[in-house]
Symmetry: C2
Subunit: 338 residues, 2 copies
């Protein structure tokens, strides 16, 4: 073996005085090889510093042990962080299963469909994880058609019966999060709890509002506190809360995101209502810095769950990825009190 070149399975076989296949078996199916032979081969592997060529193995086995994840164009705002944390968690978890995470960027849906085709034909990935799925998502259709296993981070909004999604998904139970937040405020702050969310209807927004409404409804005797409307920005949230505080007596505010919470916080402090209890959503660094309570999404849980769906329960020997069973799972978020 020429120094500077890496050892091949053939080099190991020669060094150990056995055949290629035996070396291969020591690595992939040790039970088929007798003890003493195994030791010989292991010694040769150590001595040569051999580790199998990934590409050759993948070509032969037709499995890449790679999961593709699309990285959305950087959203800039606070919320992109959740996806980043998810990617982090996914990477760590995948590596314990011997899987790799391959990122790809796509600016448009067409762009992503092109990528998906390439992945399918080129055999780049074993599975794909979609994010930001919309009802009737063309990506899901394409993946199904091409026979690439996939799962989504985010429930298939719009499918009336979640069970009938047609593909596996994992999502955060936003309603459970705001429910916990509302209950917490009802106990600690008082009965008049408002909700500050997005102006227009959106799946995520409605979900989070629902948690508040369902909790406030049965418990509060008076008609539920007014819902506040605000666009994405901090100043708008701040303005909305300022005018709310002028007209109403409010004990606390449940927010759809930390952005809203920061706006509310600023309005409260500047309006001399530092006592106003506010709970945000997403548990971003900003909320932490300001000492605001917030609902933590636990993207790590999502990563674990989604991998389990795609690849079978942990500990499963890496095998042909099973066509994932089309079911969904909601991960319950956790309220971080500050």
């Amino acid at each position: 073996m020429v120094p500077g070149k890496v050892a091949t399975i053939e080099d190991v076989a020669r060094a150990a005085g056995v055949s290629r296949q035996t070396v291969s078996n020591v690595i992939n199916a040790p039970s088929k090889v007798r003890e003493p032979t195994q030791r010989k081969v292991q010694a040769a592997i150590e001595a040569l510093g051999y580790s199998p060529n990934a590409m050759a193995r993948r070509l032969r086995t037709q499995r890449t042990s790679t999961i593709g994840v699309r990285l959305d164009a950087f959203s800039g705002g606070i919320s992109g962080v959740v996806l980043d944390r998810f990617v982090h968690a996914l990477t760590e978890h995948a590596s314990t299963r011997g899987l790799r995470v391959l990122l790809y960027a796509a600016r448009t849906v067409d762009d992503e469909l092109r990528h998906i085709n390439e992945f399918a034909d080129g055999g780049e990935v074993d599975a794909i994880i979609l994010t930001n799925t919309a009802p009737g998502d063309p990506r899901a259709a394409r993946l199904r058609e091409r026979g690439i296993p996939f799962a989504a981070f985010g429930r298939p909004w719009g499918a009336h019966d979640l069970e009938k999604a047609g593909h596996p998904w994992v999502d955060i139970d936003g309603a459970a999060g705001t429910r916990a937040a509302t209950e917490h405020l009802l106990e600690r702050a008082g009965r008049r709890i408002a909700f500050l969310g997005w102006p227009s209807d959106s799946g995520t927004g409605d979900d989070r509002e629902r948690g508040w409404r369902e909790t406030i409804g049965p418990r509060a005797g008076d008609p539920s506190a007014p819902r506040l409307i605000s666009a994405e920005t901090v100043p708008e949230a701040q303005a909305a809360v300022r005018s709310l505080l002028q007209d109403n007596d409010i004990d606390g505010i449940v927010c759809a995101t930390d952005v809203h919470a920061i706006g509310a916080h600023l309005a409260a402090v500047r309006g001399g209502r530092s006592d106003l209890q506010i709970v945000g959503f997403d548990n971003t660094a900003a909320a932490e810095a300001l000492g605001l309570s917030s609902v933590e999404q636990l993207p790590e849980e999502v990563a674990t769950a989604i991998l389990e769906m795609l690849m079978g329960p942990e500990g499963t020997k890496i095998s042909r990825p099973p066509t994932p069973t089309p079911t969904g799972r909601l991960v319950e978020p956790e309220l971080i009190v500050r």
Copy 2:
């Protein structure tokens, strides 16, 4: 060709009535193939929806078109965001060059060295990008020894002569950032500008402090304003600034990070000094939300520069990655005024 199975180069060749190699040439070296033949082959490619098997190609060419990037364990705090943005930018840029980004997780240095060995022996990646390089970093030594091209995000702290780093690197010019921040405050706020940084010495910290010191020194007639010391947390920064404001007359504060800036902001607002001008560093979502000025690191620029170092100037045909020339480059950050 069986439906459901993807087409191979052989299928295309048969369909077009030419040989494997001609198809290969149409894809990789069209100039070697006559016009009419090219059209025939292209038509067959379209008809069969062929795209070359990535693993077979990589096995044969011994090139993976993949760049490995380690994803550090999630740091949680505000600062991790810079790395995430870098990964984002890198992914987008890499894909325009036909490169892929492969993530890997490592908790310890040993863990990462193991990964590096695997990558080298297994032929997983063409190049690696290191982050958080320290002086005498064992990873750099290992990569050099194994002959894997690499570059670092972060200058090689400790090497007295940056030019002599021994490996290529790209970093943010922290001093230039705080210089711009300080100049801005000198013009807009007044002459008494303080600096709020980390308690202990660190490469990054010293760099950022230097930009302030060098600017304040020549311009300010009086001895430079007191430097504040504070650990990483918001409350500590807040406490430090509170006590500073009691004793000193300060016009503005340049901060080493947005975390410090948020603490300073809170101290200022609660101390009735809302007029105090503060500039943060990292331009995180939190700073944006609070309307604080901040120094923007431009990780996108870093990504571009680092890819250029590794792979040659943009537009270069994908080829054997040149052994990168060991030089460094500082990217000048941009002050975002709010």
